[in-house]
């Protein structure tokens, strides 16, 4: 009798203590509450005059009760903080001294590099973002004129933060769109060249992707304009949004085409020691605007326009080649990889002298354009029938 009573007590005590201990086991070791976090939306990296890293972050401060992320901290949706340090992480720990919440990197969408840092070399500063478990390698990378912190400080009208604008612009692929993963691939690639989108803060409340920053190894050597960037995108088979406008021969006014889809193939050839690249482009376009008096329902006229469209595209790409291949001598087109894939033996012989070989590579462009549809109108709108050419 006593024995069973004793057993019962032991059992109850055991169960009770297990229940009590369970209170200590709520959640895991690394638990963090959302109201203890400061989410990094965008990062800016600059270099100071005494060769230190100036790290700036755009922070979003989530509300303890949830309910959106807007309308705190003096009406601003985001705040920008900066700190200087010898390395990125050193700067981050200085930054943490000022911010009362844990700086959380899991939502970092963009990394912006200041012009000066880009000229000094960028490779060593990206190790943190690929090594620390919090930052994501899908963050988009940009280079800006002047200081990176200025881009983060922009308070935009459309989106919640300037980091969001930069990310959406990169998503559009209107200029180059480079994630950290792509950057790491380019940095360790055989061409020894990097191309990053150039972002500007010309207006108070907005950003603009305008051209491309060109790097040799990891140092910025120059910048190409919007127009040449188009040629670059075409060559890298990355073009998605594009409009081509030109004046057809023997007509007044211009016609605009909108790109539907396009595919570019780089075909390397080595003949008698001559290195040559054939660029094959197949593109499909729609007419979106017709200022001329040409009737776009006429197959003959459309055929002629297709030829001229091809020439126009060729011209753009040649423009890029002139600048990047002949002047800058940087292989941002991916020729090195193309040769390596096709001619591994020959490649291993020249790979150390690729810098000298690259400007010598001959380029031949073969483009093929198809004009698919005239749009929602047949003959030019607002013209009398007798004025229309090519009935």
């Amino acid at each position: 009798m006593v024995n069973s009573y004793f057993h019962k007590t032991v059992k109850t005590v055991l169960i009770l203590s297990i229940c009590l201990f369970m209170l200590l086991l709520t959640g895991c070791w690394d638990r963090t509450e959302i109201n203890d976090l400061a989410l990094v939306l965008g990062t800016g990296i600059d270099i100071t005059d005494d060769n230190k890293i100036e790290l700036s972050v755009q922070l979003s401060i989530p509300n303890a009760m949830g309910g959106g992320q807007q309308g705190r901290v003096g009406g601003k949706p985001t705040i920008v903080e900066k700190a200087t340090g010898t390395t990125i992480y050193d700067a981050i720990s200085r930054l943490q001294e000022k911010v009362s919440r844990h700086i959380f990197w899991g939502h970092n969408q963009v990394i912006i590099i200041g012009e000066k840092l880009a000229e000094e070399g960028i490779q060593k500063h990206f190790d943190f973002f690929a090594r620390h478990p919090e930052p994501r390698i899908r963050a988009y990378i940009f280079v800006t004129d002047g200081k990176a912190i200025d881009v983060l400080k922009v308070i935009p009208n459309i989106e919640k933060s300037s980091a969001e604008i930069a990310r959406e612009l990169a998503n559009f692929k209107i200029g180059m769109s480079v994630t950290l993963k792509d950057l790491l691939q380019m940095l360790s690639g055989e061409a020894g060249a990097v191309a990053l989108p150039w972002i500007e803060t010309k207006r108070e409340d907005g950003l603009r992707v305008n051209g491309t920053a060109v790097f040799k190894k990891d140092q910025m050597v120059g910048r190409i304009e919007d127009k040449e960037t188009r040629g670059l995108l075409w060559l890298r088979n990355e073009i998605e949004l594009s409009s081509v406008t030109f004046e057809p021969k023997g007509a007044e006014g211009k016609i605009s085409f909108n790109l539907l889809r396009s595919r570019t193939k780089l075909i390397p050839k080595i003949e008698n020691g001559n290195w040559k690249i054939m660029v094959e482009i197949v593109t499909e376009d729609d007419v979106v605007e017709n200022e001329t008096k040409l009737n776009l329902m006429n197959p003959k006229i459309v055929k002629k326009l297709e030829r001229q469209l091809e020439q126009e595209i060729d011209k753009r790409i040649h423009l890029t080649f002139e600048l990047v291949q002949k002047e800058m001598e940087v292989d941002i087109f991916g020729f090195a990889e193309a040769f390596h894939r096709q001619y591994p033996d020959q490649w291993s012989k020249v790979k150390d002298q690729w810098d000298q070989q690259f400007p010598e590579v001959e380029v031949e462009i073969k483009s093929k354009a198809y004009i698919r549809r005239p749009g929602m109108s047949t003959s030019p709108q607002g013209l009398q029938e007798k004025e229309v050419k090519g009935k």
Binding site: D30, A130, P133, Q185
Partner: protein
């Protein structure tokens, strides 16, 4: 038993807590007998397969098959040399020998064994291809390429940050693997010591397992160094040479016994 591949997730959780809790769960499974382990595998395998397919499909937009080229530009030797270490995993199949006596349908044992070998080859190849298609030349610079690949997923700005799925796959997979090895260890020890029941051995050996796993691979660097160097020889001796010798001994003894019997009967 190197569940040290945890670091990417719970940075601050001590290794011993992770290994300890995993071993505890496995210990319960092993104590429950081989059927519990088998049912566990039956339950987890479809989940793992579905999750893996899910990850692969979501990664398709980011894949660049060009990354594969050039194939074997320095001849076949580098590829073969690199294959030496991963092929070691296949000698793990000797563990099936510990499970075969429990099969109810022994006729199909060989068939399903082979099917599972091919399934493993297929998964290994698929996973490595996915990582290669996405990261190309930088694949080797990531500690856990597949994990990094899963973190890279972004579909319509909405399906993002799916690394926890990879973790679920790992946990389910290691649970089965550790349980099977643990079961073999406990069963083997019990038979070696001529015990009538293996159950009293489960927890003491589990304790040793935890200690050894920490002693053996205190960090990832040592673990991967071991995999690259002595792993192949270790597996070759423990899982190929010794079992083959045992098999030969058994054959010879059987034949001798037959002869003796014939002699006696004759």
């Amino acid at each position: 038993m190197g569940s040290s591949s945890w670091g990417a997730f719970s940075q601050k959780t001590p290794l011993i807590v992770i290994i300890g809790s995993m071993t505890l769960v496995c210990a319960f499974a092993v104590r429950g007998g081989v059927e519990v382990v088998a049912r566990g595998a039956q339950f987890f395998s479809p989940i793992v397969v579905v999750l893996l397919l899910f990850i692969i499909i979501l990664l398709i937009p980011d894949m660049e098959p060009k990354n594969m080229l050039p194939i074997m530009d320095k001849g076949i030797m580098p590829s073969l040399r690199a294959a030496v270490s991963p092929q070691g995993w296949f000698s793990d199949y000797i563990l099936i020998a510990f499970l075969l006596p429990f099969l109810s349908d022994r006729g199909n044992g060989l068939k399903w064994g082979m099917i599972s070998v091919f399934a493993v080859i297929l998964t290994l190849v698929a996973m490595n291809m996915v990582a290669l298609f996405i990261f190309g030349t930088v694949t080797s610079s990531f500690t856990y390429p597949l994990m990094s690949a899963a973190r890279y997923i972004s579909i319509a700005d909405f399906l993002q940050n799916l690394e926890s799925i990879i973790m679920a796959i790992w946990v389910a997979g290691t649970f089965i693997k550790i349980s099977v090895i643990y079961h073999a260890l406990v069963l083997g020890t019990a038979q070696w010591l001529n015990l009538s029941d293996y159950r009293p051995l489960v927890f003491p050996l589990g304790f040793l397992l935890v200690l050894y796993s920490i002693w053996f691979a205190p960090n990832l660097q040592e673990m991967s160094h071991w995999i690259r160097t002595s792993f192949v020889f270790y597996l070759a001796t423990m899982q190929v040479v010794i079992p083959v010798l045992l098999l030969m001994m058994a054959k010879i003894r059987k034949r001798n016994r037959h002869k003796n019997e014939e002699y006696r009967n004759g």
